[in-house]
Symmetry: C2
Subunit: 228 residues, 2 copies
């Protein structure tokens, strides 16, 4: 009944397998339910049987759409990576390029992670035995690293950070800082949002620390910060 957009020029309208569309809808529905179950019961609390129950179907029917529980985890992993990357990219685009963008991106990342704890845990902690994300599901995280790397290069170019900040090491360092905050927040304050509690409010201080780790060599000479 609705051809996504464009392409309405074929003789018989909607001939493009309407079954395929229904199928895709069911797949999406399963994934949404799975995410909800994971949120409620914890990452390892996801069960095929519960998904089937909520979908109003017998458990074996799920296998018409996914080959295994692990396959569902994999798609949720991938979905999370894509969404997370998107949120981060947008936050970075809204901010001044350089250190501002990096900070905004990381904070958005943290906010997203706490708002989507279960998925974030699946992505960053690997708590499910026998689950190894496929290379395809993992791909967006590589793009994320290069986004961060680019922001650091900008920050160096703008004279906000020293030249060594444009390095793999710096990416690892900065990611370690947020992951630390998130780990603490999730394990010890499972009901609080970003900005509440003992850990996430330390994030600005951590970013200052990070900046301090890469001081500009000859301060005061080049262009002023924020200009660019």
């Amino acid at each position: 009944m609705k051809q996504d957009e464009a392409t309405a020029q074929t003789p018989t309208p909607q001939r493009a397998d309407r079954r395929d569309r229904r199928r895709q809808e069911t797949i999406e529905e399963i994934l949404d339910i799975a995410a909800a179950v994971m949120t409620e019961e914890g990452v390892n609390g996801l069960s095929l049987a519960e998904v089937a129950r909520r979908l109003g179907v017998q458990p074996p029917s799920i296998y018409k759409y996914f080959p295994s529980l692990m396959a569902i985890y994999d798609v949720l992993f991938r979905r999370g990576q894509v969404e997370h990357l998107d949120v981060m990219r947008q936050a970075m685009a809204r901010a001044e390029p350089g250190l501002d963008a990096l900070t905004a991106g990381l904070e958005a990342s943290g906010r997203w992670a706490l708002a989507n704890r279960a998925t974030a845990q699946l992505m960053f902690w690997r708590p499910v035995p026998n689950f190894e994300p496929s290379a395809e599901a993992f791909a967006p995280s590589i793009e994320m690293a290069s986004l961060q790397r680019a922001a650091m290069a900008d920050a160096v170019a703008a004279g906000q950070l020293g030249p060594e900040a444009d390095s793999e090491d710096a990416v690892y360092l900065v990611s370690t800082l947020i992951v630390g905050v998130l780990s603490q927040a999730m394990a010890n304050e499972p009901d609080l949002e970003w900005g509440q509690g003992r850990f996430t409010p330390t994030f600005p201080k951590l970013m200052k620390l990070f900046a301090a780790a890469y001081p500009v060599p000859n301060a005061g000479s080049k262009q002023r910060s924020g200009t660019r």
Copy 2:
């Protein structure tokens, strides 16, 4: 019912319930097996049935010693806390009080965590659905925080850190740093030990950053660092 050691002055020797001793031995054996299974199969891979199998017993027999699987997790949690605290305390005692002790303690903590990954994950990530550690099992972690706090007070007294380092915030900050390193190492480099890979080697740099976050107000005047 049983006097642990010493006190063998009662008329009948070893009258102190030898059954209780056997029982205690079995309990220890179960816990050791459980820890081994967790190490091999992952935190959530621990299964009562597998423990029974290795003990050479039918699964229901385990219930003579533990009321549930979660109870086993709880004791493993507590065991881990105690061992971890011990390792950290010893490392701190061996080092110069103050910043050195803090650094040594944290590194020992990291080393222990990577050498006992499964238990560490159980303790710091809470990946098991429906498992909430008992207050008793949690107790040692409070003592650990006060150990760190004391080291920071020493560091302030020795003029290695500014006065604000003697605060709860500083404890949270420093614990966030190691947890970050550990999270990254465990999730992304599951086979490497402390000191290898991309993350744990950044620990010294992080400690320098931490120190930089609490600078001594009037540098160069008081006593020199390392003296005390």
